[in-house]
Every structure is written in structure tokens, then in C-alpha cells.
Symmetry: C2
Subunit: 79 residues, 2 copies
């Protein structure tokens, strides 16, 4: 799962969601939503986050199976 990977990396580097948000130029609550897998993020924002973590775009995707959402209004979208 992508969000989990992001959170894992963020914590590993000792950042808060606030920290990462500022580094990536995004909003604090948005980072939270992405980490919880509630947002179907675009590649542009994905790039910003990955960049803020000093990673390459494919780094967080290796274990990211990426199942598609089942329900019409999923709480988690399964990243």
C-alpha cells in the first residue's frame, strides 16, 4: 500500500505530517489523507511527496499492488 509506505518512510526519517506537508508544498491534512489511502492522488502530488522524502518515484511503488476500489464511495481506496 502506497500510503503505508509513505508513512513508514516519513516516520523513518523522523518527520511529522506537518513537516512533510511543508517540504512537499502540500497541506498537513492532505498528507494524512494520502497516508490513510483515502485519496486517489495524482502523479504530480505523488512526485512532490516522493521528492520531499528524497526518493525516486518508483521507490514507493515496488510493493504497491494497487487494487482498484470496490465500492462507489470507498473510505479507503486501496493504495
Amino acid at each position: 500500500m502506497l500510503g503505508k509506505n509513505i508513512r513508514h518512510e516519513r516516520l523513518r526519517q523522523g518527520f511529522s505530517q506537518d513537516d512533510l506537508a511543508e517540504k512537499a508544498g502540500l497541506h498537513r491534512t492532505y498528507i494524512g489523507m494520502v497516508e490513510r489511502g483515502e485519496r486517489n492522488i495524482t502523479l504530480l502530488n505523488y512526485a512532490k511527496i516522493v521528492d520531499a522524502l528524497n526518493l525516486a518515484m518508483h521507490d514507493l511503488m515496488k510493493e504497491s499492488v494497487y487494487p482498484l476500489p470496490q465500492s462507489k464511495h470507498p473510505k479507503r481506496i486501496g493504495l
Copy 2:
């Protein structure tokens, strides 16, 4: 560039944009826009396209530098 990579792979496999669109469950005009780098695709649709091309998500990202857009209303967004 992501769009170029997609196009390259699509042509290598002998598909039209229409073919790929149908395989991926997306619209034909949309595939064109993505290949031309005019749309900031979501990860979900990126996954669909990659899947339709029988690739893994990180495959098309290796050479994808991904510069962020300069202007407010860019024609190309630089994927």
C-alpha cells in the same frame, strides 16, 4: 517523460490509442492527452494503463524525471 514512455510501449505492442483505451477502461481522447503530457494522471488510472500494457507500475517511471509545471495553465505538464 511518462507520456512518451506510454506511447512507445503502446506502439511497440502494436496497439492504437483506441485499443489501449478500451483495454484500460478509459476514454480514447484521454489516452491521447496523457501521451501528449497534457493531463496530470491519477495513480489509479496510471495503474490501469500500466496494467493494460502488461507492465509493473515502476516500469514506466524509471526515466521519468517529472518536472513540475511552470505556468499556471500549461499546455504540457511535463510528465
